[in-house]
């Protein structure tokens, strides 16, 4: 069977599965819609969290980014996993004990103020929308390459599917769909990696293959060969990278703290039964994520060596079929500058003739390595699973922010349960349409902003939540002040140094402390902490009953079920 037929088959089967699960587990109450009824097992929640977390960016783009960035790519590996340690130790158990539906719920109640709640809703919406637009785009890219429809049709198909199961099933529906999606995406990621590792090194475990010798009898280590090839072509050594130490430090910390502060990740820990389940579930989630995250850097090394070997200094007319296929999508391009018909892939911008988009490395990897057609189709199904699961998780945060935090808690407190459920469904529908619109017409800044969503989460939520748990005397004035200053500072830095909304984008040499916009969340977070603590000193203590809430969430027993109030 051809790749095309396999792709239709695998994508069709997986989509039917998702829809079947959504119908079987549809939500009947707001509690089921927001937190899946609060009775999800730690393993199911761990799998759902992992699928929720691993987006199109993790599945499709990350290995490619690392392949081109070498050591610098480590910021994503450490940043997007290390955050789970913070989440498990500092946030998840306490938020579960607190037992409400959303992150703004916690901020609003802990800081006894609807202003704090509104600031949190605003931050949650900014973070989630920037993130979800990127997912819809990922769906479009996969559809266009593997199913030969154009990107916009792909986005619309993706919208309809997500709409169907997020709106119908709520958290309950998406949790069990995400369990299935985790299985699909991890299988799809591991199969080609194992194949290629075995092909190149004789060792089927990619994590070990990466550190082994090449299978060609030369006895050279893969990493040495890659370092050699990189320097030969004028790039930095693969194991060294080009970013400064302070920037790598800041970006890693911003991604870690941002991960721990992302509302769609935090809310998952409201769905388990007990506090101890929340802890265990965070551990399982990270274990399941680590399988992909420790394989990705190995895939990067394999793919980079394969790519260089296949194209560098080879005749253009002799390129394999996949080369032409990807040229058509515009993700790969060859510009024969010196008209010799041979591909020069070098660091020197004036002489380099090959432009490769990061995303290709995973998507084209099985083709580059000549793997069977069903493996190539599997990668398409995996990419779709990754993008759809994350999009659904984000849409739920958006709809809960609107129906629960805004309508129920602020504007119309006496709304009926049924009314709130319909409001949640309506909000999810509107959110899908907006996300789809941005997927089809991506404003130039979307791609740039997705990476910064972490900085925004780090700069706003993380300090407010941590202080709310670990510092009993933290008051509302301090927390609100910290969040507002933190997120404003981050938005300002993004506008100035990344988006160019405040005149021309200044040169790197003008970065504050030498820290890039991606890493600036670290600085904004520290400023948030300082502002919060200083204001807290000069304003009244929180009321007695709030201090009691804090004492209560520190004790794990008696969590009960997530309750409405």
């Amino acid at each position: 069977m051809s790749v095309q037929v396999w792709t239709y088959l695998l994508v069709g089967i997986t989509f039917t599965l998702y829809i079947g699960i959504a119908i079987w587990s549809r939500a009947g109450s707001t509690k089921e819609f927001y937190v899946a009824g609060g009775g999800v097992s730690p393993l199911a929640n761990g799998m759902a969290t992992a699928a929720d977390w691993m987006s199109a960016a993790s599945f499709i783009s990350m290995a490619g980014i690392i392949a081109f960035a070498g050591y610098d790519g480590s910021v994503y590996l450490m940043g997007w996993t290390g955050g789970y340690v913070l989440l498990a130790l500092l946030l998840a158990p306490y938020l579960r004990k607190f037992g409400k539906f959303t992150v703004p719920d916690f901020i609003g109640d802990r800081y006894y103020s609807n202003t704090a709640r509104m600031v949190a809703v605003f931050c949650a919406l900014i973070v989630s929308f920037t993130y979800v637009a990127g997912q819809m785009r990922g769906v479009g890219v996969v559809f266009s390459r593997f199913l030969q429809v154009d990107i916009n049709t792909g986005v619309i198909i993706g919208m309809v599917i997500v709409l169907f199961y997020a709106v119908l099933g709520g958290m309950k529906g998406i949790t069990y769909t995400q369990v299935a999606q985790y299985c699909v995406l991890i299988f799809a990621f591991m199969v080609p990696a194992i194949f290629i590792s075995f092909q190149m090194t004789g060792n089927p475990v990619p994590q070990l293959g990466m550190g082994s010798t090449l299978n060609d009898g030369s006895g050279t280590f893969l990493m040495d060969r890659l370092n050699g090839l990189s320097t030969e072509l004028g790039f930095a050594e693969y194991t060294d990278g080009t970013k400064s130490v302070i920037d790598v430090f800041a970006i890693t910390l911003a991604l870690m703290v941002g991960t721990a502060g992302l509302p769609h990740v935090i809310v998952r820990f409201f769905t388990v039964k007990r506090v101890k389940d929340a802890r265990k579930s965070a551990g399982l989630a990270l274990l399941l994520i680590a399988i992909l995250y420790t394989t990705a850097p190995a895939v990067s090394v394999f793919a980079k060596i394969n790519l260089i070997d296949t194209v560098s200094n080879k005749e253009y007319s002799l390129m394999p079929v996949w080369f032409k296929n990807w040229e058509e999508t515009g993700l790969l391009s060859f510009d024969d500058k010196n008209k010799d018909g041979i591909i020069q892939y070098v660091a020197d911008k004036d002489k380099n003739e090959l432009t490769v988009d990061n995303d290709i490395m995973v998507l084209a990897n099985p083709e580059i390595a000549n793997l069977p057609a069903w493996v190539i189709a599997l990668v398409a199904a995996g990419g779709l699973a990754a993008a759809l699961s994350t999009a659904a998780g984000l849409l739920l945060v958006i709809s809960a922010s609107v129906s629960h935090d805004l309508i129920k808690k602020v504007f119309k407190p006496n709304i009926s349960e049924k009314g709130e459920l319909w409001a949640a469904r309506g909000a999810a529908t509107v959110a899908v349409v907006i996300a789809g619109y941005f997927g089809i017409n991506p404003p130039g800044f979307v791609a740039a902003v997705v990476a910064l969503a972490f900085g925004l989460a780090a700069a706003s939520f993380f300090p407010a939540i941590v202080l709310g748990i670990f510092y009993k005397k933290m008051n509302k004035e301090g927390a609100i002040g910290g969040m507002v200053v933190g997120i404003s500072l981050m938005l300002f830095y993004m506008a100035k140094f990344k988006l160019g909304w405040l005149g021309e984008i200044p040169d790197k040499s003008e970065w504050w402390f030498g820290i890039s916009p991606e890493g600036f969340g670290t600085v904004a977070m520290i400023v948030n902490f300082i502002v919060a603590l200083v204001i807290n000193r000069f304003t009244p203590e929180p009321p007695e009953n709030v201090q009691e809430i804090v004492e209560n969430i520190r004790i794990p027993s008696g969590a009960g079920e997530a309750v409405d109030h």
Binding site: A88, K276, R279
Partner: protein, 86 residues
């Protein structure tokens, strides 16, 4: 302070002590071995891996996973000790 409050305070203190120890390790493997001391560690090679690079792209992640499971164990024991388990 009532007996119940004393118990809660003692529990919290032990919990915070665990957090300091575990987060120190978290910092050491990622920001320490993977970033700040990467160049020094890179002079050591294990198989095809330079050690600093290995920590940044592999080792730190393994340690993160272990840390959370150690934390789960420690806390389950602590909960039992103070009678907060359920």
């Amino acid at each position: 302070m009532s007996e119940k409050q004393k118990k809660a305070t003692a529990y919290w203190k032990e919990n915070v002590r665990y957090l300091f120890i575990l987060l120190a390790i978290w910092f050491a493997v990622s920001f320490g071995a993977g970033i700040l001391f990467k160049d020094a560690l890179n002079t050591i090679k294990i198989g095809g891996f330079k050690l600093g690079f290995w920590f940044a792209q592999q080792g730190s992640i393994y340690v993160f996973v272990i840390l959370i499971f150690v934390y789960v164990r420690l806390m389950n024991k602590l909960d039992k000790k103070y009678g907060y388990n359920e």
